[in-house]
């Protein structure tokens, strides 16, 4: 397991170096989106309209944070389960999305799109929302404020810890990790 630092936006050159199992620290920008925001983004894509942020080269973090206490940039902010976004993700990947952060396995359609358009699926520790919040230095709602915790936020992160689950070569950390320790 190697430790790697990357900055956003992610280039294809960097993406080619990432392997399933790598521990990666991200510096830069993450955009948050969950179910409801994904639905709206994909509706815009289907209508051929512009998205509220630049997807190309960027990373979407599947998170709906708790409200920030006064003086803090954000509340608790750990990953939510990714499979709920599987029906929407391929269209965003096709638009140039380079990374997704969530938890849990992805569908075959998402994995195919990732290989084809060079996108990485990362995970971070579910339920470690208080710890992860400390790596977020700034947060602002940039779209869909009416969705409350599901609004799209632009986060500035420093040394944000993730693991590569699926790289562009078809490797899968969930499958490999479990195979290593399974006794039946």
């Amino acid at each position: 397991m190697s430790e790697i630092r990357v900055s956003t936006p992610l280039s294809d050159e960097v993406i080619r170096t990432l392997r399933s199992g790598d521990k990666v620290f991200i510096n830069g920008i993450l955009y948050t989106a969950r179910d409801a925001a994904h639905r709206r983004l994909v509706e815009l894509i289907d209508k051929g309209e512009q998205l509220p942020f630049e997807v190309k080269g960027h990373i979407i973090y599947y998170v709906g944070p708790t409200p920030a206490r006064p003086g803090k940039p954000i509340g608790s902010a750990g990953p939510t389960t990714s499979f709920r976004m599987d029906v929407y993700a391929p269209k965003l990947i096709e638009k140039g999305l380079k990374g997704m952060i969530g938890k849990g396995a992805r569908s075959q359609e998402v994995l195919e799109a990732m290989k084809r358009y060079k996108c990485i699926y990362f995970t971070t520790v579910g339920g470690a929302g208080a710890l992860l919040a400390q790596r977020i230095t700034h947060s602002e709602v940039i779209a869909y404020d009416d969705l409350g915790p599901e609004a799209i936020r632009k986060l500035k992160v420093e040394h944000f810890p993730v693991f590569v689950v699926n790289d562009i070569y078809g490797n899968d950390l969930y499958q490999e990790g479990v195979r290593k320790y399974a006794r039946h």
Binding site: F83, G126, P149, F163
Partner: protein, 279 residues
């Protein structure tokens, strides 16, 4: 007759909602410590370390352990010699939830199932009331996250499937859930009753403190066997591989119809939050 004031219930439920979300239970911390000793996967150990650190930060800064601060489920034991003054019990619980989620900066996660419109204050709570003898009022406040709830299932087995069928269902449910419910998990199993009874006793069993043994020795042995088989799946912390997939398996039983064998599996994430209030 014991009199309990509406406003005292509101206040205590409010505090319980916040504390359950800020402070990881001692039973979970102790289970993490045991798991840290036995976990063979380096990534698994690192994740357990992060969860300790997360618990420390959450308690110190009064920030939620997890951003999914849950659907508030309350199990109430209402003594038949208790009277509530100043309002209704369910209203008091909902008011406590409303105030706790606002004051604690907790996420409001409850919405209309079809329009998806958020109720805005994390109500309504789900309240299960048992009438019991005596003059005490107990409220177990358990905010439940959806990542693990979504992985829970009820099935109606055939009586011929028997105990082996029950074991298969539980283990396959955990296997298929993989990383989704945020392992290490706590598994509640309800065997018997009707469809809703099985789910209800599974949830109540899931909330039993970790490390306490089942008073029924046959069920205690079954809990141990299932825990071992689940941990042999290799799913590990966060599903990245390892020995610690579940911290505990808790089973509850209820008589069922001669034609059926209902089984419910209710999964909780490692932030198994619950706080008991006693009047």
């Amino acid at each position: 007759m014991k009199v309990v004031a509406y406003k005292d219930i509101v206040e205590q439920v409010k505090i319980a909602c916040m504390e359950a979300n800020f402070r990881l239970g001692d039973d979970i911390i102790a289970a993490f410590k045991r798991a840290r000793q036995t976990e063979e996967s380096p990534v698994g150990r690192e994740i357990l370390d992060q969860l300790f650190e997360n618990a420390r930060i959450a308690e110190e800064e009064k920030i939620a352990l997890c951003q999914d601060t849950g659907f508030v489920v309350c199990f109430v034991d209402l003594g038949d010699e208790v009277s509530i003054e100043g309002g209704r019990l369910v209203d008091a619980i909902n008011q406590g939830v409303r105030e706790g989620y606002r004051e604690g900066y907790l996420r409001k996660s409850i919405c209309h199932p079809l329009t998806r419109k958020n109720t805005g204050d994390n109500t309504p709570a789900i309240v299960h009331v048992d009438l019991v003898p005596g003059d005490s009022l107990k409220i177990l406040v358990a905010p439940k996250g959806a990542g693990s709830e979504n992985m829970s299932r009820v099935t109606m087995l055939k009586p011929a499937d028997g105990i082996e069928g029950v074991k298969r269902f539980v283990i396959e449910r955990v296997r298929e859930s993989g990383a989704n419910p945020c392992p290490p998990i706590v598994v509640g199993v309800g065997i018997g009753g009707t469809i809703e009874k099985a789910a209800l006793i599974a949830k109540k069993a899931m909330l039993r403190p970790i490390g306490t043994s089942n008073p029924d020795s046959d069920l205690a042995a079954l809990e141990e066997e299932l825990l071992k088989k689940i941990n042999d799946l290799g799913i590990g912390p966060q599903g990245l591989g390892g020995r610690t997939t579940a911290l505990a398996v808790h089973i509850a039983l209820f008589p069922c119809h001669i034609a059926s064998l209902p089984v419910a599996v209710n999964i909780n994430c490692h932030a198994s939050r619950h706080k008991e209030i006693v009047f």
